[in-house]
């Protein structure tokens, strides 16, 4: 997903979808940040990763005690 031509519109869509009540100044900081963040993410889609499994952990057994609140 390359950096879109209209960064402002793309960021506006994502910020609105996330329901973030940002000020215009904060929105501008997201617009400024987005190309770098997008390029960082895009740089992870390389051929060497094509057949890698994600390093995720899941066990169907609930941890005990399960009362740790987060």
């Amino acid at each position: 997903m390359p950096v879109p031509e209209n960064v402002e519109a793309a960021v506006r869509g994502m910020v609105d979808a996330a329901g973030l009540p940002v000020s215009e100044e904060e929105f501008d900081s997201f617009v400024a940040m987005y190309p770098t963040l997008r390029e960082a993410a895009d740089g992870l889609y390389i051929e060497d990763v094509r057949y890698e499994e994600p390093a995720l952990i899941f066990t169907p057994v609930a941890p005990t005690p399960a009362a740790v609140k987060e």
Binding site: V15, S29, Y34, A40, L44, D48, P63, V68, E70
Partner: protein, 470 residues
Amino acid sequence: MTEIPLTITDAAAAMRAGTLTSLELVEACFAHADALDGELGVYLHRLDDDARAAARAADEELAAGTDRGPLHGIPIGIKDIIATNEAPTTAQSLVLDPAWGAQGDAPVVARLREAGAIVMGKTSTMEFAIGMPDASKPFPVPRNPWNTDTWPGGSSSGSGAGVAAGFFLGALGTDTGGSVRIPAAFCGISGMKQTFGRVPKSGCAPLGYSLDHIGPLTRSARDCAAMLGVMAGADASDPTTADVPVPDYLAALTGSVEGLRIGVERANHLDAPGVLPEAVEAFEAAVSWFAGAGAILDEVEISRYEAIRNVGLITMRGEANSYHQSDLQSRWSDYGMYTNRFVAGGALVSASDYVQAQRFRSLAREQMAALMKPFDVLIMPTAGMGAPLVEGLDDTSFMGWPVFTPFWNPLGLPVLSVPMGFTNDGLPLSLQIAGKPFDEATVFRVADAFQQATDHHLQVPSLVSGAVTV
């Protein structure tokens, strides 16, 4: 007048020699805090009465012949994103529900307490372990005892500054991208991010679920080893903990690096923008010491360095935003101005990006296992700079700094930061020692040998050395 021993090891020896009691030590540490905390902003909550009562009990036990080990009667600070029995846990935020902290001691705190440690209070942090100090919120802006115009690093700011200032001899921090190792580096002390899964992180407000580590900060590597020996081990409350035997870390401290194979990583570190010449000199001096001490050194170069660091960045953004999104929607202004911006950046990362980062993480794990196979440890600077000025810090500050900690969090490998010298402005510089999975013992051995031959970790800021008043 009670002088505070610089290390846990020295204090433990003095207690057993009968020249120091835990209560005297606790009083002396609180006296330092009385004198300096208005300037340093270490404590969010002090536990004077509880600590004194615990110290008296520790002294009585020791006198009666019950010795709980190297932490018996030792004052420690707890970063205020980790739950404790006595004090509220705020995460230095207006947002965290006070009921969350009412769960009582996190497993790691319970283990330290059982080993005789004295909990002195809760220490300042960047809000939820991220962001930057925001003076508009009702929390202290932490300052560095080496120069109070500078920042002690974060996010475990109070834990780092508190050890350096003699408010306690050890502390708990958390490290998701360097939050133990950065304050250790900027405050001139030692800080350990052990293997992911070595220490339970339940009872700690999360930042990045798969990147967080609760780690010790102390003056010496030996003291870190003493704390980690108590903290380590699987716990049913945290399914990410690994059921791997915990060795006797103190027994591994031979004082020698002879024959150990050390990979020296200059390529991604020494030429990075902003690296100070004196950081390069201090690093090369450390390398020379290891060579002279009989270690077998070889140059290494980590490939895909930036991409692996970005795996941590994407992962942290996604995991943090997941935890905070509801509160960001409803309580945006209750967050510090740099916390909400940073965390909300996770809304700009897609679910596919997050999973791709975890796939890249698998590749990175294989790559690093192959790279590290011929070595016992790798070494590189923690940062190529000293502590930055507090003035002007914002959510983008980190992006321009030569700080080399975040690379290691997505890999989950053990990394210890230890002092290696000073900048021309008198601010501490730091060395990272990285090991293989669950081989903290070798990392501690290397660091302890270095510290037996150097005294960088024993230097005390002039602000502190003039403040002993007990």
